[in-house]
Amino acid sequence: MTNSTLPNTATAMTTPPPPSAAPGVMVGSQLNARIPDGDPETAWLRRRQEYRVVNPANRKKFTVAVVGTGLAGAGAAAALAELGFEVHAFCYQDSPRRAHSIAAQGGINAARARKVDNDSLYRFVVDTVKGGDFRGREAEAYRLGQESVRVIDHMNAIGAPFAREYGGALATRSFGGVQVSRTYYTRGQTGQQLQLSAYQQLMRQVQAGTVKLHPRTEMLDLIMEDGAARGVIVRDLVTGEIHAQVADAVILATGGYGTVYYLSTLAVGCNASAAWRAHRLGAYLGNPSMVQFHPTCLPVMTPWQSKTILMSESLRNDGRMWVPLKPGDERAPGDIPEAERDYYLERKYPAYGNLSPRDISSRAGKEQIDSGHGVGPMHNATYLDLADAIKRLGANTIWERYSNLLEMYRIAVGEDPMQVPIRIAPNTHYTMGGLWVDYNLMSSIPGLFVGGEANSSYHGANRLGANSLLSASVDGWFVLPYAVMDYLAGRLGQARPALDSTAVLSAFERAQARTEALLQVRGTRTPAEFHKQLGNYLWEGCGLNRSDKSLKTAIGQIRALRSEFWQDVLVTGKGLGVNQTLEKAGRVADFLELAELLCVDALDRDESCGAHFRIEHQAAGEAVRDDDHWMFASAWATTAPLDFATNPTLRFTRHAEPLHYTNIQPARRNYQ
């Protein structure tokens, strides 16, 4: 099918959004995402034609606050500064270069479709929309594919040394769930090279004086005037001082919140605070329970483990996953004979075997661990065994293919994966959910834009591998500059709030009161202890498998833990100066609220889709969607007193953004 003709069929919910299965949830209104009508393929072009521009001479008059310097934030800040706007850029790390985009390994997708493997824009959109299990926006998938071409060219030109063929052309590799080869990469460090390139362009603007950089600075609150975002309240993490930055528009590009589960593949500083505070002020949160778990992470080895390192999925091309047949088998792997091993993926999913998709592999692994078949000192892992591949292809070939990963494993675990099977376990990796934004990446608060992993765009219920470096880059370099300029054009001649206005002072006082409240509890448990406990509750209640029962249990546990937190948290030190315990406490306090909504969203969504797996809705281990009732994105509002220094009761309202598919027809996944 070609997609140049205007579509005449549209699939949408056949019934209005259902009442909620989650107690106390109110059903809100239907949202308009401001997606251009008509053919989704031409939507972005048409929208750009509608956008207003600001005369270059007037651009200096506008200030934009950009929170986050990852691929989304650094891109947006640099691009807006290149256009001539005044930009303030914030990040919590000591340098903007260190945003967690730096940790991405595998690659970045692009619909360049130069080869004759029959890739195309259309195929990219199909893969993205299907990968998202029909819970993402079709028109946005088109935009993602269309702008991907410029992303690669731009990144290449500003210094990303993409892998090349011997003839000099860009090389590509294949990546999960896709039958063509459209993933661009720089060895196993694609995120690093993209992030450093974006960072350098940001620094170029810092040198030019168009970007004022605020590293080691954490956003604590949002300045709101007349219902619109007009700046941020931040804490200088070195001096401890809290100050205000007023702006005409605010961009949040603060990354994912997977760290709410305590252990994840994210950096230990990743947090939800900026997004959650904006949410509490009225920015809807989209599909918060849509979280992707990665099947091949290093398992937890000591009770003190602070994160789970990702081992690239590519290992599954040559590794076989197995566990001992006998639960609790303490023998060394080499002593367990072939007949006493369960190659569980090959057994359960004979067609795809060890290459079954991420969510299926993750759930199968957890099932083995939960039923007592887990291996390793803590019985919390399964084996990924390279022995057969080494026998078949030779040790040299295997070492060449995966040397950096195997070396990392050797350092981290102290075992030689060429001799002993690798131990792996599933863990939290990526959050499809985030602040709800319309097609222009503006949240439900006017003037507040959200880019990158922090928003809920593009990926629906499940993100396709290598699509998120892309979405963060597209947002930063090629969507936000247009959309934010359009917004600013409508503000010409309007003033920003004065530093002594009520808008600024009330936000400032909220942030100040929160900091003092955390210091004053002086209880007996550290913020990290609360965080770990919260992680356990979430992992059990709202992890790979969710059920009515597990979610209700988790909600009760989280509420209780939150009230214990506000009575018993112990933060030593002062508000002034470096105080990492205080930083942690603030982040955990926000996680404790977000976690409740995460579970409420999962309980509310009475279907399975993508990574959201409700055990009540499955057929042979596969998620069963309910398109008649749930073909919409949930956008949540939380109502509670605007006081971040206590533990109020949270009340939730679910708004719904109906989803329409015109060029791609919803279908069910099947991997058996």
Binding site: A78, A79, E82, Q93, D94, S95, R98, H100, I102, A103, R112, R150, D153, H154, N156, A157, I158, G159, P161, F162, A163, E165, G168, A169, L170, T186, Q189, Q192, Y199, Q200, M203, R204, V206, Q207, L213, P215, V238, A267, V268, M301, T302, W304, Q305, S306, I309, L310, I411, A412, G414, F478, T524, T526, E529, T572, G573, G577, V578, N579, Q580, T581
Partner: protein, 248 residues
Amino acid sequence: MKLTLQIWRQRDTKDPGHYETFEVDQLDVGMSLLEMLDRLNEQLVHEGKEAIAFDSDCRESICGTCGVNVNGRPHGPRPHVTSCMQRLRSFRDGETVRIEPLRSGAFPVRKDLVVDRSGLDRIIAAGGTVALPAGTAPDSDAVGVGHDQVERALDFAACIGCGACVSACPNGAAVLFTGAKVAHLSMLPIPAIEKVPRAEHMVAAMEDEFGPCSQYGECALVCPQNVPLTAIAFLQKERLKSLLHPRV
């Protein structure tokens, strides 16, 4: 496992600072160096004391946030491995371990083990960039680059900006860091267009804040990314060229 830790404590930049000794036991050899500090901090907070401040983020050796000197060696005993990936199995049971910030005149201590490495950002800002606004790049397949050429560029581009090289250098030089960026960008066709002014500006920024190179080579010995020492030669070469060229 049991260790005696001598850890640098410093209230703020002005405080002269001192070592404080802690006995830690029941350690697991699989813990990382930083997880040991996490555990010690939990204990300190429980005792009502202030936690030891130290930097870290990704904890998988790529972000460059972490870095402490361990027994005088940047990052720790295992060569070419960041502090976050150093495991306690590298230490002997009962050993005394001295942990201090990444020492260098160019890295003022902000608190305890936290230093200010923003001088490195200023070197990049001075010229480790490409003057090419968003959207104006040519088709990347139209400008071919050899397979080995990009792989070589990546050897230099792999620098994580942790500052271990500066701390290892007796002069506090940042030539490995600066040379790596100059080399990386000179090897790619579009960024190479600006290589002459780049080297000049980056070297000027580097000399403003960092010491001179005496070719000791200590920097490359500790580099977690194995950035080749040839970065230094590269820098000298590009710099000579920039001296021969008139200013642009």
